[in-house]
C-alpha cells in the first residue's frame, strides 16, 4: 500500500526533471548551466527562459494534467479503456462552445478569458453529457458502440465548427490553429487564466475517486452499493468537462493525451482511482511536456502544432488498445 503514494511522488519528480530539461529545448538550445543562470535572472537568456519557455512548459504540464485526469475519469465512468476527452467528443464540444463565443462576441479579446472558457465548459458538458445519456439509455453497450457514439457527436460538432469557420472567414486562421491544438506563444496570462479551472476540475476528480471506483463496476453494482448514480455521474461529467474545457480554452484541441496517460498510470499504480487520477494527471503532464518539446524541435525552425503530433502518435496507440479491448 505504501508503495503507491511513493510512485506518485516518483512521477512528480520525473515531471520536475523533464520540465527543467525542457527549458533548454527550442530554437536556441540552452545547457543546464545556462538555464540555471537564467532562472536566477543572470545572463542574456533570462527573457527566453522566463517569458517564453517557463510559462509554456508549465502550461503544457497543466493541460496534460487536466487531460490525463479527465481521461482516467471518463474511462472509469464509461467503463471503457478507450474513452478520453477527445474520443467522446468533449474536446470538440469545447472547441465549438468557445468558437461560438468568439464569433458571437465579435472581438473575443474584449470579452476576455472568462467568456471563452465558459463557452468551452458548456460545450464539453453538452457533448460528454449527450454521449453519457446516450450510452446509459442504450444500456450496457459494447465498447465499440460508445466510441461510435462519441465519433458521431464529435464529427457533428466538428462540422459545425468548420461551418462557422467558413461563414466567419476573418476568424479562420485563429480557429484552425485552435482546432489543431498548440501551445505556441502562450504566456503567463494563459497560465494564470487556466490554472483555477484546471485545479478545480482536477481536485474534484480526485475527491470523486471512490464513486468512480463504484461506477467502474457498472451502473447496477454502483447503485446496489447505495451510490446516488445520477448525482455522482453528473459530478464526474461536470468535473472532467471542466478540466477538459480549461485545457481546450488555453491550448486548443489536443487529442489522445487523455487516452494514453491513464494506461501508463495504471501500470504504475493500479486501477484504484484514488491513485489513478493523480497518477494519470502526472503522466499526462509528462507526456504533453515531452510532446511539446518534440513539436518545438522536430521540424525546426518551423513549430508543429502539438495537437497534430499527439494525434499522429496517439492514433496507433488507440488501435493497440482497441485490439486488446475487443479481443
Amino acid at each position: 500500500m505504501s508503495g503507491r503514494p511513493a510512485r506518485i511522488l516518483l512521477l512528480l519528480a520525473i515531471l520536475a526533471v523533464v520540465g527543467s530539461l525542457s527549458l533548454g529545448v527550442g530554437s536556441a538550445r540552452l545547457s543546464p548551466a545556462r538555464i540555471a543562470a537564467a532562472l536566477v535572472g543572470e545572463g542574456s537568456d533570462a527573457d527566453i527562459v522566463w517569458d517564453l519557455r517557463l510559462p509554456r512548459i508549465i502550461l503544457a504540464a497543466l493541460v496534460g494534467l487536466a487531460l490525463g485526469a479527465a481521461g482516467a475519469a471518463y474511462q472509469g465512468l464509461f467503463r471503457n479503456p478507450l474513452a478520453d476527452p477527445y474520443v467522446i467528443g468533449a474536446s470538440t464540444g469545447s472547441a465549438l462552445g468557445a468558437t461560438l463565443v468568439m464569433i458571437l462576441a465579435g472581438d473575443a479579446g474584449a470579452m476576455g478569458f472568462g467568456a471563452v472558457s465558459l463557452g468551452a465548459f458548456l460545450g464539453a458538458m453538452g457533448a460528454a453529457g449527450l454521449v453519457y445519456v446516450t450510452a446509459a439509455w442504450w444500456g450496457p453497450a459494447p465498447i465499440v458502440t460508445l466510441l461510435l457514439a462519441g465519433t458521431a457527436v464529435s464529427s457533428c460538432l466538428g462540422a459545425v465548427v468548420w461551418l462557422l469557420m467558413v461563414l466567419h472567414d476573418q476568424e479562420l486562421a485563429r480557429i484552425v490553429l485552435w482546432m489543431m491544438g498548440s501551445l505556441a506563444g502562450r504566456s503567463w496570462s494563459a497560465v494564470i487564466g487556466g490554472t483555477p479551472y484546471i485545479a478545480l476540475g482536477f481536485a474534484t476528480l480526485c475527491a470523486l475517486a471512490r464513486p468512480l471506483d463504484a461506477l467502474s463496476l457498472g451502473e447496477q453494482p454502483a447503485r446496489a452499493l447505495g451510490l446516488p448514480l445520477r448525482r455522482m455521474s453528473g459530478m464526474v461529467v461536470a468535473a472532467a468537462s471542466l478540466a477538459t474545457a480549461a485545457a481546450v480554452a488555453v491550448a486548443g484541441v489536443i487529442g489522445f493525451v487523455g487516452l494514453i496517460a491513464p494506461h501508463v498510470a495504471r501500470a504504475f499504480v493500479g486501477a484504484r482511482h484514488r491513485y489513478l487520477i493523480p497518477a494519470s494527471g502526472l503522466c499526462g503532464a509528462i507526456l504533453l511536456v515531452l510532446a511539446d518539446d518534440l513539436a518545438r524541435t522536430v521540424a525546426a525552425p518551423t513549430e508543429l502544432p502539438v495537437g497534430v503530433l499527439t494525434a499522429i502518435l496517439g492514433g496507433p496507440f488507440f488501435l493497440v488498445v482497441l485490439r486488446r479491448a475487443v479481443r
Partner: protein, 273 residues
Amino acid sequence: MTPRLRAEGLACGYGRGLPDVLTGIDLDVPAGTVVALLGPNGSGKTTLLRTLARLLTPRAGTVRLEGEDVWKRGRAWAHRRIAIALQDDPGGARLTIEEVVRLGRAAHRGWWLPMTADDEAVVDRALELARLTPMRRRSVDALSAGEWQRVTLARSLAQEPRVLLLDEPTAHLDWNYQIEILDLVDRLAHDEGLAVVVSLHDLNQASTWADRVALLAEGSLLAHGEPEAVLTPETLARAYRCPVLVDRHPISGAPMVLPPPRRRSLRADDDPA
C-alpha cells in the same frame, strides 16, 4: 414479531405504459431464514429482488424492513441494511478483489471519508467468509465466473447487511462451488441471523438449503411456504408448464424434483425387439 423484511401487495414493472411484471406480492422473510425464490425464466425473480433492494420503485405496495418503509427512509438508510448481489460481470474494472470488496463499506462510510480500522476488519472478515483471502490482491479481470460470484458476495457482506439478496449465486459454478456458496448462505442465515432471499434455478438446491420457498409464475406469487408444501408435482407443473416427478431425498427426506423419463427409454422397455 415483525419479520425482518416484508413485502406487502407489491407490484413491480419497468417503463411507463408497459404491463406489470409482478402484482400482489406478499412475502415475509424472518431473520435467520433462507427464502428461495423460484420460477421459470422471465417470471420476475430479479425484478422482485431489485424491488426488495430499493433499486426499483414499486408500482404499488410497500417493502418494510423491521416495520419501516424502505422508500420512506432514505437510500443510505436502506443500503446500510440491505445488500444485493446481482448477476453482473467485472467488465472493464481493473480493480483488485480487495478493492472491490472495500467498496461495500461505502454504504456505511459514505463516498468521501477515509476507511477506518473497523472498516478494514469488516473487509478482512468478508474476504475470509468468501474464502478469498489468499487471492485478495488479484485483479478481478482475470477471475473465473465462480470466483467473481464470490467477490460479489463478499462485497455484499462488507455492507454488514441485515438482509441479503442474492440473484442466482450458483449460476455458472461447478458443483463443488455451488455447494460451497449455499453452505455459506446457510451459515449467514442460521449462525449470523441474516434474512436471506436467494433466487435459484435448481429446485433441489432450494429444497435442500431453503427454509421457505417462494414460487413466482404468471406474474404473481404462485405458492409460498415450506419446501414440502410448494415443491409438489401439481404446483411445479403449473409454474413450469411441464410434467415433473417429485421424490424424496434418501437421507434428509426433503422433496427432490426429477424430470420425467425420456420417451425413448420408455419405448425401449415396452418393445420386445
